[in-house]
């Protein structure tokens, strides 16, 4: 599934040796270049439009489309300042961080522990329990909304961050266990047995052998889970019932239904929401693609 592999290999056809051969070949490919150019434009233009809009003055946005920016060439940071100062987006951004970090680290830890038990400890009903985990992977979160809210109501967990942390953690577990277990069972048995013979405890084997050897899998899963939580709207709608704790997605949605066509505010706040995933995308693209591909079964 590695894209790097895909990217590294040369195109299938051989390179023609003569100049005229190359020209003929290039001409043959002209339709492909045109089609792919069109694909690139269709996939880039909407996002670039948003970024350009977010730095245009409000009056320009309402008068002309972003593609006419070249004729006006007026830029401003006003939109960002107003969503940060007046629309509470800075607090929402901080809330995103507060929600996302425990909601990534907790499932990562719990899933790794459980996956280790499912792969390297023998205990009764192990395979039956693992089948239950696989089955739970496909249970839609909607099934849990009403009962969990009932359960949490007396404790007020939805007024603070506890409900959303626990909900994200629990729903991430079945897939995380499935993924990590399938990685852990590929680790060399000799290594683990040798450590046991040397007297390492079960937890010692987990900490000193299994986790260090599984960093790629754990990193990919961690990045996937982090972005999943960062981008989430639905769980926040259900499990965050205190407006001061709203993440960006909910805040933007509120902006959209409240002001409708205040494009300058929407564009700037949508970019605030996108900036972290974009940084992750460009800096950790390899793990990111692997994580997302892996996460697709979720």
């Amino acid at each position: 599934m590695s894209t790097n592999d895909a990217i590294a290999r040369p195109a299938i056809a051989e390179r023609p040796k003569t100049l005229s051969g190359r020209i003929v070949k290039a001409l043959n490919k002209t339709p492909i270049h045109i089609a792919l150019g069109l694909v690139a434009v269709i996939w880039l233009a909407p996002t670039i439009g948003l970024l350009v809009t977010s730095i245009r003055p409000r009056s320009d946005i309402q008068a002309t489309g972003w593609w006419e920016t070249l004729s006006t060439l007026r830029f401003t940071t006003e939109n960002y300042l107003s969503v940060i100062n007046a629309q509470g987006m800075l607090q929402a951004f901080v809330n995103n961080v507060i929600i996302s970090i425990p909601s990534t680290l907790l499932p990562l830890t719990f899933a790794a522990l459980a996956a280790y038990a499912f792969s390297w400890i023998n205990f009764p009903f192990r395979d039956s329990l693992f089948l239950i985990v696989i089955a739970l992977m496909m249970v839609p979160a909607q099934v849990a909304f009403i009962p969990v809210l009932q359960l949490f109501a007396p404790f007020g967990f939805t007024r603070n961050f506890i409900a959303i942390w626990l909900a994200h953690t629990a729903f991430a577990l079945p897939f995380g266990i499935f993924l990590l277990r399938n990685f852990f069972i590929t680790l060399p048995r000799d290594l683990i047995e040798a450590a046991r013979i040397d007297g390492a405890s079960t937890f010692g084997v987990f900490r000193t052998i299994v986790v260090p050897l599984s960093v790629p899998a754990i990193a990919a899963y961690g990045i996937f889970q982090f972005l999943w939580v960062w981008n989430d709207l639905l769980m926040a709608l259900v499990f965050v019932q205190n407006a001061a704790n709203n993440p960006l997605t909910r805040q933007i949605n509120g902006l959209l239904s409240q002001y409708g066509t205040e494009w300058h505010l929407l564009a700037a706040s949508a970019f605030l929401l996108m900036i972290v995933p974009l940084i992750v995308f460009f800096s950790l693209q390899r793990y990111f693609v692997q994580g997302l591909l892996a996460g697709s079964v979720k």
Binding site: G49, T64, G65, P147, L256, L273, F288
Partner: protein
């Protein structure tokens, strides 16, 4: 799919998209130790019981109840289900042709979103494999996968803006003196417009998966076919297509799961509107339960969702068992 084997990256096992089998049953030599295992499993068992096992039973029972305030108040038998399927045109309405309602919109998504994503993913993957800027092109198409559906919704709200001065699509149509069209405000257009956003967001995913599958086809086979006089179309139909049929079926399952869980795009872009014309089942579950307060009905919709997921669940379990045995 064997795409990830033999790469230099010790990345995730290709279990990933569910295509490649986890090879063997878990190793058997480790200590037999139920008590230690319990310690490792304790947080998981606790959370899965509270958030998945117990709620599934609760919601199942609640779907046969009035469910006022989310509690068991009055047993109503199958009423919630009967009402959903026969008396709620917002959920499913067979009296018109074509049918309408949230459930039917999911069918529209399933048919058009799934097939077009796979088709475009395949076309782009094949074309990109023949040019030198393949990597960057795949990154461009994959980029929307990183972005929150909420942000995709805002991006496309600009594209679909009904004003031909500010809405990109209507500005383009305006050049040919067509429109402006209210893409999200007209019940005749809204579902197609939303599905188009979904497609735009997912094609990169299909492209990357299918591209990896295409790379796994040996170039000798293709060269040999070319030498034997096969044209590009024949190579595509007789060599590439059969080789990617397994990844395509895996993609189809994944995209189907996406469709069942689909919520953010309709919620943010249209709130299920205009009227109720772009609702989908996950939206209905949320809307009827929380703003609506009809918890019995919401529970029934959640059960319908679970029912739709059940064949996929059984498929996963069967695959795991057959792999454990061999």
């Amino acid at each position: 799919m064997t795409a990830s084997t033999g790469t230099g990256t010790p990345g995730l096992p290709a279990v990933a998209i569910g295509a490649a089998p986890p090879k063997a049953k878990a190793p058997q030599v480790e200590q037999r130790n139920g008590k230690v295992a319990l310690l490792f499993l304790l947080p998981t068992v606790f959370l899965l019981t509270i958030f998945l096992v117990y709620p599934t039973i609760y919601t199942f029972l609640l779907s046969f109840d009035r469910g006022r305030r989310g509690q068991f108040t009055q047993f109503v038998g199958l009423d919630n289900y009967v009402n959903l399927f026969t008396k709620d045109p917002n959920f499913i309405n067979f009296s018109t042709f074509p049918p309408s309602g949230a459930l039917f919109n999911n069918v529209l998504w399933l048919v058009f979103y799934t097939s077009i994503v796979i088709f475009l993913g395949l076309v782009i993957a094949v074309m990109a494999s023949r040019v030198s800027y393949e990597a960057i092109l795949k990154s461009i198409v994959f980029l929307p996968m990183a972005i929150a559906a909420t942000a995709l919704a805002v991006i496309w709200a600009f594209v679909y803006a009904p004003d031909s001065k500010t809405g990109l699509l209507n500005a383009i149509l305006g050049v040919g003196n067509i429109g402006p069209i209210s893409w999200l405000g007209d019940p005749g257009f809204v579902n197609a417009s939303l599905i188009a956003v979904g497609i735009w967001g997912s094609v990169g995913f299909a492209t990357v998966i299918l591209s990896a599958a295409i790379k796994s086809i040996s170039s000798e086979i293709i060269e040999a076919a070319r030498v034997d006089g096969a044209n590009e179309l024949q190579i595509f139909r007789r060599i590439i297509l059969p080789m990617v049929s397994l990844p395509i079926s895996v993609l189809a399952v994944t995209l189907t799961v996406n469709v069942v869980k689909l919520f953010d795009l309709p919620y943010v872009l249209t709130s299920g509107g205009p009227g109720t014309s772009s609702r989908v089942i996950a939206f209905t579950m949320y809307q009827e339960s929380f703003p609506g307060g009809l918890f019995g009905k919401g529970a029934a919709v959640a059960m319908v969702m679970l029912l739709i997921m059940t064949p996929i669940m059984l498929f996963n379990i069967r695959r795991f068992r057959s792999e454990s045995v061999t």
